[in-house]
């Protein structure tokens, strides 16, 4: 599965959603258990969770009657890949710069 970079960035740009990921990094939680940790309304918590879910950062599994939210850190790798493209970009550019300044001495 591939994740959309822009969507993942947007998802983790919000402080509430980052805190939700923090909590889920420690343990799986239901929407209710998460809502207890925030001062915002339950519908607001639910909508944040939906954004996380839509971007693959959270998966929902059933445990008996409970719907449990679990962190899926894999989408964060798309950010790492994106940074990797820049690293390669600089390697290439600096190679060109080096050969240019070292060539045709004045």
């Amino acid at each position: 599965m591939t994740y959309r970079l822009q969507g993942v960035f947007t998802a983790i740009a919000d402080p509430h959603r980052r805190r939700m990921l923090d909590y889920l990094a420690v343990s799986d939680l239901t929407a209710g258990e998460l809502a207890e940790r925030f001062d915002i309304s339950r519908p607001a918590v639910a909508s944040h969770l939906r954004v996380l879910e839509d971007n693959g950062l959270v998966t929902i599994t059933r445990q008996g009657r409970k719907r449990v939210h679990r962190l899926n850190p894999a989408p964060l790798l798309t950010i790492r890949d994106w940074l990797g493209r820049y690293e390669k970009f600089w390697d290439g550019r600096l190679d060109v710069l080096k050969s240019l300044v070292e060539g045709e001495r004045n």
């Binding site: 402080p15 805190r19 923090d22 850190p73 690293e87 970009f89 710069l97 080096k98």
Partner: protein
């Protein structure tokens, strides 16, 4: 997120390397077509090649301009990416060496859209843990 750091030793005088960093026609030869001018605070644009995450020209602003003096030079500019929206900083330092010039490049500021708000968040440490440790363990497994 980690900074991108690169260091390259070049067999060329510092003034020549500096010219390639600050003359628009010379910058275009190794980096990108641009509207750069060597003036502190100057706003300019760079035409980003496809494939590194910015579809529009990159908006940039000169934030440090220290021409070669005493064996050192420094150039820095902001580098604003549209997808995803982040303003990064490119900082290039030159140091004279026996063999020529050493170039140290740091491309930093790969943080998220609202860093200021999060700095004051008491869970900032938790986020560091998530991004650095969870991600690190994923990458190294």
């Amino acid at each position: 997120m980690d900074d991108i750091r690169r260091s390259v030793d070049m067999h060329a005088p510092i003034t020549r390397v500096w010219d390639y960093l600050t003359d628009p026609a010379l910058i275009a030869q190794w980096l990108m077509p641009n509207t750069f001018r060597p003036e502190l605070g100057y706003d300019f644009q760079m035409d980003c090649p496809p494939g590194i995450g910015s579809s529009a020209p990159i908006d940039a602003k000169v934030t440090a301009l220290e021409p070669p003096a005493g064996g050192r030079a420094r150039l820095a500019y902001t580098w604003k990416i549209d997808k995803p929206p982040v303003t990064t900083l490119l900082d290039i330092m030159l140091t004279e060496t026996d063999a020529g010039t050493r170039l140290d490049l740091v491309h930093s500021g790969w943080e998220l859209a609202e860093p200021d708000r999060y700095v004051h968040d008491r869970h900032a440490h938790g986020w560091d843990h998530l991004l650095f440790n969870v991600l690190k363990s994923l990458l190294e497994s």
